[in-house]
Symmetry: C2
Subunit: 345 residues, 2 copies
DNA sequence: CTGTTAGCGCTTTCAA
DNA sequence: TTGAAAGCGCTAACAG
């Protein structure tokens, strides 16, 4: 304890306490803590000394009441168990903290909670919101009405203009499918995500369109819920339904991993007998047992962009909506018969 | 829009606005929103009607200023990329939200950030803190001095009494090692976590103690950083150093998974030639390519306990410190030669 | 550069 | 049951 801050247990020191101890006015204390405020270096030192003695820190809550800035950004995530989202959350959290903003986390077990969460968001006067959860257009509109900056992560609004960052699902999927076609895969199948997943549907639609144009209409499709187990189940379903496919396109990595395990359980060798590709580029996709061929989302670039856009909008709420779409990076793993291809186009 | 709330863009409605519209005093509005306050049902209805028309919600920030309760709990997590923590975070977040508390998330890239984070915590007047990050005793003491309730998750304080929940590392590890010994494993090796990880060291110490007593002193040990890559590297190191072990005890699942892949890359069959065990019970440990034998932490029970303890201490700050230790559950996967053993004891 | 003063939006006595 | 009034701890004009 020796030279630790003196302090009556419990009651925390206020700026008045510090002012009294330093022999200055309360506003001098306030100014001492505001960078660039007009205060004599000498007074400031006295104040700071008193502050540390009392263990004083300006109260962010009280400050927010008057500055209209809480320093808090809310993050909405639908399901943290998705394996892709923890990576996103870690990046967001890191970068926000570097920019001196705090994260109020809302993880939704299901979509119906959104309204309840929005209520909380209004009450806490957050400076802005990054949402990796599905929002209806009506919900998005509320942000506009209340003047709370919003950036969507990996989703987009249907009819309302709204700032967003995302990874080019269609482009990435087309790259994968083109490669698969080029080396002569012939019996395709798709493991899709839930129908209400925008990115999932984009990926599937892009794959299908390309396949159709290449003379593969009516590709068999099974729907999972983005989980490992559902990936396994989808693969089993596809194998049961007809002749084994020689290329399976999965809407995300985790299902692709489940699909690989299920295929192997059916004594199919990956990629010799069956190619399997995913999407996202999560860590386990790189594990030696899988070495998944996939499209890696540039998570860090995307999160940084999201935060930059949000910060801009916090400073200038009337900024026009903008969508930033990043290309994913093709990761040539070992789960698909695709040539390493340097001079590829 | 039709019957949506009327509202001048940007400036949010205050209790005064509502009061005026409802033709009551501002304090009547306040009371209407406080459950169990003395207010005539009829007035309350008028107020509520006005409130919805204006899209009014009591401002949590302003309320906190006077009630001394922010409704916010801070969660500290060291590294979200650990795969075990997202599961914990998801549970914590879920349960806190059910109890009408918000989560302020602090994810630390490294231990040196702790002090910076604590500063923020004091400023935001959080009602309490759950820490799954390492705190020094001096840091823990600050919580006591400031009267901020703290519950440690999977760690414990050295010399300061402090509320905590954890999983019985030693007990779990002993169960694993006993089984391995019983079936005659003879050449053990350990893949440990970083030296500054308390749980990691507990697990390793328990395993070593038991092995020593069983006539296996000086078990070779390699240190990883809890990541897949480091698990792989450790296994390679162990294989390089001497005769291949027939049982490898890993301080967590992710390293065990890395170790399995590395062992297989060396053409060792798991578990026939080498048994590998982990700790935690994360989702990928159940994947068909691994089916890891491990100890599963009862995450939901632990998180619920942590929150219950925190809530108690928020209501009664002087509550005595308590440690709750939960037993892990042995998961018999297929990564170790251990009999299914029903009548085991 | 410094102190005085007026709030931010709310809850909570205290009388009526 | 209700309204008036006094703050919670702070920042931001405004004079001095």
């Amino acid at each position: 304890m020796g030279n630790g801050p003196i302090q009556n247990r419990k009651r925390r020191a206020t700026s008045y306490d510090v002012a009294r101890l330093a022999g200055v006015s309360q506003s001098a204390v306030s100014r001492s803590f505001k960078p660039g405020a007009s205060i004599a270096p000498e007074t400031r030192d006295r104040v700071m000394a008193a502050a540390t003695r009392l263990g004083y820190q300006p109260d962010a809550i009280a400050r927010g009441l008057i500055t209209k800035r809480s320093g808090i950004v809310a993050i909405l995530i639908s399901n943290l168990t998705n394996l892709y989202y923890p990576e996103v959350l870690a990046e967001l959290s890191q970068e926000l903290s570097a920019r001196d903003m705090r994260v109020l986390l809302f993880s939704l077990a299901n979509e119906s909670e959104v309204d309840r969460v929005l209520d909380q968001i209004w009450r806490y006067r957050v400076d802005g919101v990054i949402s990796a959860a599905r929002l209806t257009d009506a919900q998005i509109r509320q942000f506009g009405e209340r003047g709370v900056p919003l950036v969507l992560y990996n989703r987009a609004a249907e009819t309302v203009p709204c700032a967003s960052v995302s990874c080019d699902s269609a482009g990435g999927e087309r790259e994968l499918v083109t490669r698969l076609l080029d080396v002569g895969h012939a019996r395709f199948a798709i493991v899709a995500g839930p129908e209400d997943s925008t990115v999932g549907e984009e990926r599937v639609a892009a794959a299908r369109a390309l396949l159709e144009r290449a003379g593969h209409p009516d590709v068999p499709l099974a729907r999972g819920r983005y989980s490992y187990e559902s990936g396994e189940a989808c693969m089993r379903e596809l194998l049961r339904q007809g002749p084994a496919p020689d290329a399976v396109i999965c809407a995300n990595d985790v299902m692709a991993i489940g699909a690989m395990d299920a295929a192997r359980a059916h004594d199919l060798r990956v990629p010799e007998q069956i190619s399997i590709v995913g999407f996202d580029g999560v860590a386990p996709a790189r594990w030696a047992s899988y070495r998944l061929t996939t499209i890696r989302q540039p998570v860090r670039r995307m999160t940084r962009a999201a935060i930059a856009m949000l910060a801009e909008r916090i400073d200038n709420p009337d900024l026009i909506a903008e969508r930033r779409v990043f290309s994913g990076e093709l990761i040539l793993g070992a789960s698909a018969r695709i040539p390493a291809a340097q001079d590829y186009r």
